[in-house]
Symmetry: C2
Subunit: 357 residues, 2 copies
DNA sequence: CAAACCCATGCAAACGGTTGCACGACGGGT
DNA sequence: ACCCGTCGTGCAACCGTTTGCATGGGTTTG
């Protein structure tokens, strides 16, 4: 009924194996036969059956992408870039979300393995290292992105959390701000810790004392952002700038600032971690630390593909595994937009007077 | 090496076929053997090989999801809901984007077929009906969402574009607005036409003359939104309200309104089509027509699953195909928020005077 | 009591490629 | 002229399940 490799082989007057090799680009085939087979295949509109191919060759051309959720803006760019790059390399993406639940993640990974995925990219979760390590031993490629687990053998691609946070704070400080608020992620998250220390370091560098009443750290949720912003504004700490280092909380922070009628940047300068479409469109456009989502995605795909290639050529050797375990940092960059300015109100009034007196 | 069905069968002292039937829940198996086999499988940690299963049974438990892109907010909810529902039914999602390019879409669909997907959900594109019709004949399930093609045999799930637009306009009109701007989608898109006629009808119903200078229609892009908003504001047509019926253009419209310092809703009331996180967070929160993305997604999955079930039980009959072709509308709903109010400025000044004089 | 039947099970043939191995032809070296 | 190596091709086994058909024991029916 449907056209299989056998049909192609018959039409090209070659054996099944020759047809297979010709189409898969084996170097053992003469140019002549290859041409004949190719012609036959395209005449017949032959399409290979991936299931059959996967069954025999253990290569499915499927890659699993594991995400916490799809609703969070910050994953879109990454997912989009990954998907594009993989498709152009002949892979398709099986996408699934875990809601950050370890059990869901675990069972999802197993299901992906059932489907024989050639590799898995795990974004924003460092759980189930045991399972992914097992995958590595079974010849599947694995890459962790954004969040890592210390005992994962797979390579990890991280954003430059500390440096980015340093730069953000530095930017505010050199504009003249000294009361810089900080809303960040929980301490138990590596990224939360790293960003916080970037903030501290930059303050220290500028001789600004660290003031706990300006700092709030919590979960990566919109609700926490709203709470934290409300709290900080209520405290009246003389805050003239705010560094929103918790990407998810931003969605809670912005509305609260608007509701309180904060004039940005006149009353309050604002820097966010991680660039998102929303922040470009905001009015005023928000100054951000671009954490290089595109690069993160591209590096992840590169690492995955090179793993796959290594597995094909070398097989699963302990040596290969040892080489794997490594952490990559993607540089971040300040994108100055309209939401940051010198702490005008206090200065505009006081400096001229000072100058006169 | 790895544990296969054969291993399980041996441990349970049954044949391969019995083991297979026991695990797949065939009614031909006695309770006793089923229990033994189940036990053996779980003892061994048996995981079925999907590739093998797909090869033999033609059912991959894979569903293709075809999107224009991942960057557009409006697809996230739908994609998320679809992904969840399908996973809970034992399916995995192969996600891919087409950038609205027919050739990409075509080749993508073929690739999905190569992978033996059991069905495809196509969001926001009505191209390649020929290919999807072919899929239907080959026993694959297909559902179109949001955008349809007249000659597609597959069922289509649409939002209530006309009614939603009617309701939006009606809302503004009954607040007292008579100069209601409209930024919509191109005429060649069904949804563009439907929304526009909803707008017209509501105006007519309220005895408001249709004024072309208040109406701009164009592609579903952010850029068009920015252009259109700038243009409308420049025209000074006495517009007191704006209905943004082009979901993608919204991202261009909002920043322009902010840049022009429009006070919403004092100077201009605003209603958008399609609810998005951004619009809830905006300040003021934007009144929207919720087009029921969640319901759209759920209905799509239901239609897909019922197709799959029908194919399994009936096979591919012309009768089945005939039953398929049908369009479903998901109701939309006005969500009144802070961006709409009576046309205060003009009225506050003029009506009292009128009353007095 | 035999015939007809049903149920649970096993056998073996698919499904559609891939791949290790064997084979034959051909060219070059001695 | 003979041997050997290389290259292109074919044969057949194999990947792990599913499933049509045959089998055999037990039950129902005439």
């Amino acid at each position: 009924m449907s056209v299989t490799l056998r049909t192609v082989a018959e039409r090209a007057n070659v054996s099944l194996s020759t047809a297979s090799r010709a189409l898969s680009g084996s170097p053992l085939i003469s140019e002549g036969t290859r041409a004949v087979v190719d012609q036959a295949a395209s005449d017949l509109g032959y399409r290979p059956n991936r299931a059959a191919s996967a069954l025999r060759s253990k290569r499915s051309h499927l890659i699993g992408l594991v995400l916490n959720n799809l609703v969070n803006q910050s994953f879109h760019t990454i997912a989009d870039v990954i998907q594009r790059r993989l498709r152009s390399e002949g892979y398709q993406l099986i996408l699934s979300t875990t809601d950050a639940d370890p059990r869901t993640e675990e069972s999802l990974l197993l299901t992906l393995a059932d489907h024989g995925v050639d590799g898995v990219i795990i974004i924003g979760s460092g759980q189930s290292a045991a399972t992914t390590n097992d995958f590595l031993h079974r010849g599947m490629a694995v890459v962790n992105v954004i969040r890592s687990s210390h005992d994962s053998l797979a390579p990890t691609v991280l954003a430059a959390d500390r440096d980015g946070a340093y730069e953000a704070t530095e930017h505010l400080a050199s504009l003249g701000h000294r009361r810089i608020g900080y809303i960040g992620g929980i301490e138990s998250a590596d990224s939360g810790r790293a960003r916080h220390s970037g903030y501290e370091d930059a303050l220290a560098r500028h001789g600004i004392p660290y003031d706990e009443s300006l700092v709030l750290r919590g979960p990566f949720t919109q609700d926490f952002g709203a709470l934290a912003a409300t709290e900080l504004l209520a405290r009246s700490t003389g805050m003239t700038a705010l560094f929103a280092a918790n990407h998810e909380a931003v969605f809670g922070i912005l509305p609260v600032l608007m509701q309180h009628g904060m004039r940005i940047p006149d009353q309050l300068s604002l820097v966010c971690f991680e660039d998102m479409p929303l922040l470009q469109m905001w009015h005023p456009a928000v100054t951000v630390i671009d954490n290089g989502a595109t690069q993160l995605a591209e590096l992840s795909v590169d690492l995955l593909l090179s793993q796959i290639r290594a597995i094909v050529s070398e097989g699963v050797t302990p040596e290969r595994l040892r080489r794997l375990t490594r952490t990559y940092r993607v540089g971040s960059q300040l994108v100055a937009r309209a939401s940051t300015a010198p702490p005008a109100p206090a200065f505009a009034v006081s400096s001229p007077r000072k100058a006169r007196s």
